[in-house]
């Protein structure tokens, strides 16, 4: 390593000299955030450790991960297809595990577990929630738009990069990874880290926007209790969503289909055993593989770029605009229904389940301590998951 640093120093490439140690510091900072500050530790901890492993100064042949095998045209067959033979013979442990990300296996498997843990009842009881879930995808397209402009101004984002950055606004880790590994694999570590960090920061990002966009009166609206939902409806819902989405946005089906399979496993109540595996063992195993390999793609030359800073800024913009979009429609609904809808549930359309819904509940309760918005906010919240998966499908269909 010292020899390499010496050579780089002579060439005057400062980033190559400090890159590796700097990445080790970044990995340790992320470990600190995960362990001490409890920022999505289930993901951030393996991501940060993967980053640590991949940046250890080793010879090329000893490395656990070679991100260039998946990105650099020099290593790809005809410049774009994976060279499986080479990965199998020369790859390290993490290269092999990373195939699950690259081939799009892990995110849908995680969605299966999420589907099992999701209750679509509040959404079925209040179908209007779907509109809020759609409005909260505004940030996806706002960030896409800005990333394109920044790209045109010289930051080097093309359309596909911009789409992958935009999807951070979907506030859905697996969805963001699924889109990025296809459209902009080189940006994967930065986008995954931005998405998961901002999800953890939702209780900080959202409340100021919520307070600025609503009045004291509208915040204290108490909503009518939701109707009970029958088992038939809960069983039919995942089946219908899969068919409808499959017909319109086929590219969203690998994510949404698995989400709905998990949900059907729960609601049908006849496959308890596989349901337990989906939400516990399978999801945990996949989360470990996903986290550690996504972190491992963050080598110094991939991560220490001006693009990373751009992504971190655009990610925050995406989250803020998604919150804005949801609240805007929430306010419209408040006006149209003559004050029956509390606009605060709009911000829960940002699909970080259940944090965004919990924030709506807390902000509402500050105004009116006897107000329980949580169940009302869960509707837009799970609608947001569907919305962001559809937005991801749209991007994949357009730019794949």
């Amino acid at each position: 390593m010292l020899r390499q640093m010496g050579e780089a120093m002579q060439q005057g490439n400062i980033l190559q000299v400090i890159g590796t140690p700097l990445m080790l510091v970044v990995a340790c900072v992320l470990l600190y955030l995960a362990i001490v500050k409890k920022f999505e530790p289930l993901l951030l901890l393996p991501i940060a450790f993967g980053m640590l492993l991949t940046n250890l100064p080793m010879e090329l042949g000893q490395r656990l991960m070679h991100p260039q095998f998946f990105i650099d045209p020099q290593y790809l067959i005809d410049g774009h297809d994976l060279d499986m033979q080479m990965i199998a013979s020369k790859g390290g442990l993490l290269d092999i595990l990373y195939l699950g990300v690259k081939l799009g296996i892990y995110p849908p498997l995680i969605f299966m577990g999420i589907g099992y843990m999701t209750d679509f009842g509040p959404l079925i009881a209040n179908p209007k929630s779907l509109l809020l879930g759609a409005a909260a995808q505004f940030g996806v397209f706002a960030a896409f738009f800005m990333a394109l402009i920044l790209g045109a101004m010289g930051l080097g984002f093309d359309v596909r990069d911009a789409a992958a950055i935009g999807i951070i606004g979907g506030a859905d880790g697996p969805t963001a990874i699924f889109v990025t590994k296809t459209l902009a694999p080189a940006l994967l570590p930065a986008i995954a880290i931005a998405a998961y960090s901002y999800m953890a920061l939702i209780p900080v990002i959202q409340p100021p926007i919520m307070k600025a966009m609503t009045t004291k009166k509208s915040r204290s609206v108490v909503m009518k209790q939701l109707r009970p939902v029958s088992k038939t409806e809960k069983i039919l819902f995942p089946i219908i969503v899969t068919i409808v989405v499959g017909l319109i946005v086929p590219d969203a089906v690998s994510l949404l289909g698995c989400l709905m399979l998990g949900n059907l496993a729960k609601e049908s109540g006849v496959v308890d055993r596989i349901g337990k595996t989906m939400q516990n063992e399978l999801m945990n195993i996949v989360t470990i593989f996903l986290g550690i390999t996504v972190g491992a793609t963050a080598t110094a030359e991939q991560f220490l770029t001006p693009q990373t800073l751009g992504i971190i800024a655009l990610g925050l913009i995406a989250f803020a605009f998604s919150t804005f979009g949801g609240l805007l429609l929430g306010n419209i609904m408040y006006a149209v229904t003559g004050g029956k809808v509390n606009p605060l549930i709009g911000s829960a359309g940002v699909s970080a389940v259940p944090m965004a819904a919990r924030v709506s509940q807390q902000v509402g309760q500050k105004e009116n301590p006897s107000n329980f918005l949580l169940m009302h906010a869960m509707g837009p919240n799970v609608a947001g998951v569907i919305g962001s998966a559809v937005a991801a499908g749209v991007f994949l269909a357009m730019f794949k």
């Binding site: 959404l123 079925i124 179908p127 209007k128 779907l130 509109l131 879930g133 759609a134 995808q137 505004f138 996806v140 397209f141 706002a142 896409f144 738009f145 800005m146 394109l148 402009i149 790209g151 045109a152 101004m153 093309d158 359309v159 911009a162 789409a163 109707r227 009970p228 939902v229 029958s230 038939t232 409806e233 039919l236 819902f237 219908i240 969503v241 409808v244 989405v245 319109i248 946005v249 259940p354 919990r358 949580l374 609608a383 569907i386 919305g387 559809v390 937005a391 749209v394 991007f395 357009m398």
Partner: protein, 116 residues
Amino acid sequence: MSISEALAQGAETAVVGLGTVFAVLIILMIVLHIMKAVFYKEPKPVETQVVEPEPVAEAKTDDIDEGELIAVLTAAIASSLNTSTYNLQIKSYRRVGKKRSAWNGAGIRETIDNRF
């Protein structure tokens, strides 16, 4: 790509994309409304019997065998103090916190914590 091209493409994609997202979710909303019409029947307002808990509770306390209650209390205190019931003598007891029993409260709290 020049800035004007970026603006044009960004706007076009945003309109098409957001439009598709809304279209899909609006279709789902319509489906949900149909589902409600088919499967959901407004529950008839059942005449709820007003239970008056006060007299029932009082009647119950009268029925309870004092000796048995004291035996239970003694055993509970003995086990929590790690001593024998022979070392304890209960002179008087009274109920505290009338509204909700501790078990009831703990149960509700646990349910809330589990779900949210």
